[in-house]
């Protein structure tokens, strides 16, 4: 468990995750208030990475639930293992005959079978999915519910019970409560508005693109082979690209990819040639690449863009 916000930042830092003061505060609060965190922000700023670092910093296992359209309870929570149930019935046929053999009538046999039916709806045949795994785990876990905005509205509603009471109801078994309350991080790329009820239950964290210094720190940490000077230049270019009106602006992960590409290509400086060759690592649309190229060739306006 974390002692205070500084401890949080320090220990996340030791997992190679550079946490801003805000992230430190929110993670500490989440732990102290036992509340889930809802992290929003553009794609590729390290929201998922935060969950991994969090789990590693605490030495807790990470349980991940990736959301997508059409995800439903059975895939998130539990499923009855149909095939195994069938197999057991087949194998236990003899035993069943013993139990039912001396029954005189059909109804008597059915009644006897009903007494034994708990056998087939026990936890042996329960196939736990991520949510159930997180709830029934023997040690505290970090539960990552990734890209919640991709799931359907019904699933979001279903999550409310899990997130506020940390328990779920399985009709055949009753209510299962969490052994240890998991630490939950939900991420959203903001493709749709989440419901008020879900937001109300969470602490809100908005992760934005980092400042130039923070990004430089990240590059230095993750790609130590890149010379300091080159890293500085690279970050400056990326920051400049983010201020442009592009279809998809480069994220941190793309900055890192680019930095690695520069190391691999053994680039001495970011000149026009290197830039032309490697720009596609940063930008994923042809129109963006061309726009960026035009800007770079035209000398580029280095001034801050009013959009940010």
């Amino acid at each position: 468990m974390f002692k205070d916000t500084i401890d949080v930042r320090h220990r996340l830092g030791s997992q190679q995750y550079i946490a801003s003061e805000e992230i430190g505060t929110v993670v500490y609060l989440a732990q102290s208030l036992c509340k889930p965190i809802l992290a929003e922000g553009p794609a590729g700023v390290g929201k998922t990475e935060l969950a991994k670092a969090w789990a590693a910093a605490l030495g807790a296992p990470l349980v991940r639930l990736q959301c997508y359209e059409g995800l439903d309870e059975s895939k998130a929570l539990y499923e009855w293992e149909y095939a195994k149930q069938m197999l057991y019935t087949q194998l236990l046929r003899d035993t069943l005959r013993d139990v039912l053999g001396d029954a005189n009538s059909l109804s008597e046999a059915a009644a006897r079978l009903a007494q034994e039916e708990d056998v087939f709806f026990s936890e042996n045949f329960l196939l736990p999915r991520p949510l159930m795994t997180a709830l029934t785990s023997d040690e505290p876990v970090v539960l990552l519910i990734d890209e919640i905005d991709r799931s359907d509205v019904e699933f979001e509603a279903f999550l409310l019970e899990v997130l506020s009471d940390f328990q779920v109801s399985v009709p055949e078994l009753g209510t299962i409560s969490a052994v240890h309350q998991p630490m939950v991080l939900l991420t959203s790329n903001n493709t749709r508005e989440l419901s008020e009820a879900l937001k109300r239950r969470c602490l809100y964290l908005y992760v934005d693109y980092p400042t130039a210094e923070a990004e430089l720190q990240i590059v230095n940490l993750k790609v130590p082979d890149l010379s300091d000077d080159l890293a500085r230049q690279a970050v400056a270019v990326v920051q400049q690209l983010r201020n442009m009106d592009l279809r998809k602006v480069p994220s941190i992960s793309e900055t890192l990819d680019w930095a690695r590409a520069l190391v691999t290509l053994n680039a001495g400086a970011i000149d026009e040639k290197t830039l032309t060759n490697t720009l596609t690592v940063l930008l994923k649309y042809e129109s963006d690449v061309q726009k960026a190229r035009r800007l770079m060739e035209g000398g580029g306006s280095r001034g801050p863009n009013p959009r940010r």
């Binding site: 916000t5 003061e21 805000e22 505060t25 929110v26 500490y28 609060l29 102290s32 208030l33 509340k35 809802l38 929003e40 359209e69 149909y82 095939a83 069938m86 359907d152 509205v153 019904e154 509603a157 903001n190 493709t191 749709r192 508005e193 419901s195 008020e196 937001k199 109300r200 239950r201 969470c202 602490l203 809100y204 964290l205 908005y206 279809r247």
Partner: protein, 461 residues
């Protein structure tokens, strides 16, 4: 401190941020855990518990210093470093000043600013209770500074320096005095600005709410004020959530299609062919839309809300293509894709109204013709075509023939008209020419009607 936080939450609510009771309790817990020693961490913990929408962040950032700013930087005392003689001289000069200027100079030199009560009174005199927004707050601040004599400060200071020189104060001491006064002036102005901001936020929190969104839902689009439209824009969010869950539910209930014999056999191989799991074919229930919007100025507000609604509902729709027209047609779906809802709609409106000539004639007939030439491939047997417009064609040819073809080609053709039926067919309205070729016509005078109409689109599949 608790009272401060509660006041702050009231201020946030008054500024339009949704803060529930549960969230304010969370905020209190968070403050209890975090403490208030570190102001940044304190701010971040309040923000994480209270503000759940990145759009509301600026409001938070603006209000926070007003409530927890500590009233601005403290003033310095100029007298401390003076010799008794010099203090005497300054005193004599100050006493010669008139009432208000004397008070001001006193604050600026003694290091003791006006009391809280004095500031509140001054703010009231400057009209803080009538102000409604930060912009007006700046205006009130200016007036307040004027009342306190800041505008005449420069000449007063010159006079003061002259008098002090005559009395024989050293140049060095005068410079020092001026330095302190200058610093204090800025500090005092900052204090005043914060006081005004806080007072406005508090006043706003105390005022009864007069805009009820439920009433506004019924108010015709054309009579909405800008402020009311803003309330409704926020309301669209909630409306969309409702519509979306209705649509999703409908889809779920309607999921059962025809029995899928192939799928069933395949799925039950593992049970030795005993059909334990039954498979059904899924029906495609998401409608694919082609939206044709009249973007002439009279239609501005309806078109805006229509775009907002459909854009927000994109995930419930298989495919949308949007077109806008006044005298000719243009595709706007390209702009709509990829941006956030607010930005996307703004971009479309900017794009259209930025280039619109002062005089133009709405011409749906001509626009339809362009549509047929360029984009007819967007309409097929699965498409629902929605036309949003008042059908006022400026006596141009309505091109009913094209409309007829369009209906035959599309799955459904729906017309949304923002005019009252009484006005239909009057003047240059051609709506009755089009009606026979529409599968349904909806009146969308206000947001409630528009939402119902959009919902019916989703239901039709």
């Amino acid at each position: 401190m608790e009272k401060r936080v509660v006041d702050f939450i009231r201020g946030l609510r008054a500024a339009g941020v949704r803060v529930s009771l549960a969230e304010s309790i969370d905020a209190m817990h968070a403050v209890g855990v975090i403490g208030i020693q570190d102001k940044n961490i304190f701010r971040e913990s309040l923000r994480a518990t209270l503000v759940k929408d990145s759009d509301d962040r600026p409001v938070f950032e603006e209000l926070f210093p007003l409530y927890f700013g500590g009233g601005g930087p403290p003033l310095q005392n100029a007298l401390e470093e003076m010799s008794p003689d010099e203090q005497q001289m300054l005193k004599a000069v100050l006493e010669a000043l008139s009432g208000r200027m004397q008070a001001l100079m006193d604050w600026l030199t003694s290091g003791e600013g006006p009391t809280k009560e004095e500031l509140e009174e001054l703010a009231r005199q400057a009209g803080a209770q009538w102000a409604d927004s930060p912009q007006e707050g700046r205006w009130v601040t200016r007036r307040m500074l004027q009342k306190m004599g800041f505008t005449r400060l420069e000449e007063q200071l010159q006079e003061l320096v002259q008098k002090l020189q005559e009395m024989g104060m050293s140049q060095e001491a005068i410079q020092k005095l001026l330095g302190v006064v200058e610093a204090n002036r800025e500090a005092l102005a900052e204090q005043v600005a914060q006081q005004v901001g806080r007072q406005i936020a508090e006043e706003r929190a105390n005022r009864p709410k007069d805009l009820y969104s439920s009433d506004l839902m019924q108010k015709p689009f054309y009579s909405l004020s800008e402020e009311e439209a803003n309330v409704l824009r926020r309301e669209v969010q909630r409306l969309v959530t409702q519509l979306r869950s209705r649509a999703a539910l409908r889809r779920k209930r309607g999921r059962q299609g025809k029995f899928d014999s192939k799928g069933t056999i395949r799925a039950n191989q593992r049970y030795g062919g005993v059909p334990l799991e039954l498979k059904y074919k899924k029906r495609k229930l998401k409608p694919s839309l082609v939206l044709i919007c009249d973007m002439s100025r009279s239609m501005l507000s309806v078109a805006e809300f229509m775009l907002r609604l459909t854009y927000e509902l994109q995930d419930q729709v298989a495919k949308t293509r949007s077109f806008g027209f006044y005298s000719d047609m243009e595709e706007i779906s390209i702009v709509l894709v990829g941006n956030r809802p607010q930005e996307a709609v703004d971009a479309v409106l900017d794009n259209f109204y930025g280039r619109m000539p002062r005089h133009y004639a709405t011409d749906f007939g001509n626009s339809l013709d362009t549509f047929f030439k360029n984009w007819l491939d967007s309409v097929d047997g699965r498409t629902t075509v929605v036309v949003l417009g008042d059908a006022r064609n400026n006596y141009n040819s309505p091109r009913v023939d094209l409309m007829k073809q369009l209906q035959r080609r599309a799955r459904r053709l729906v017309w949304f008209n923002p005019e009252q039926p009484g006005q239909w067919g009057t003047g240059d309205s051609d709506i009755y020419d089009y009606v026979p070729y529409c599968d349904s016509v909806h009146i969308v005078r206000n947001l409630a009607q528009l939402a119902a109409a959009v919902d019916s689109l989703m239901a039709g599949g």
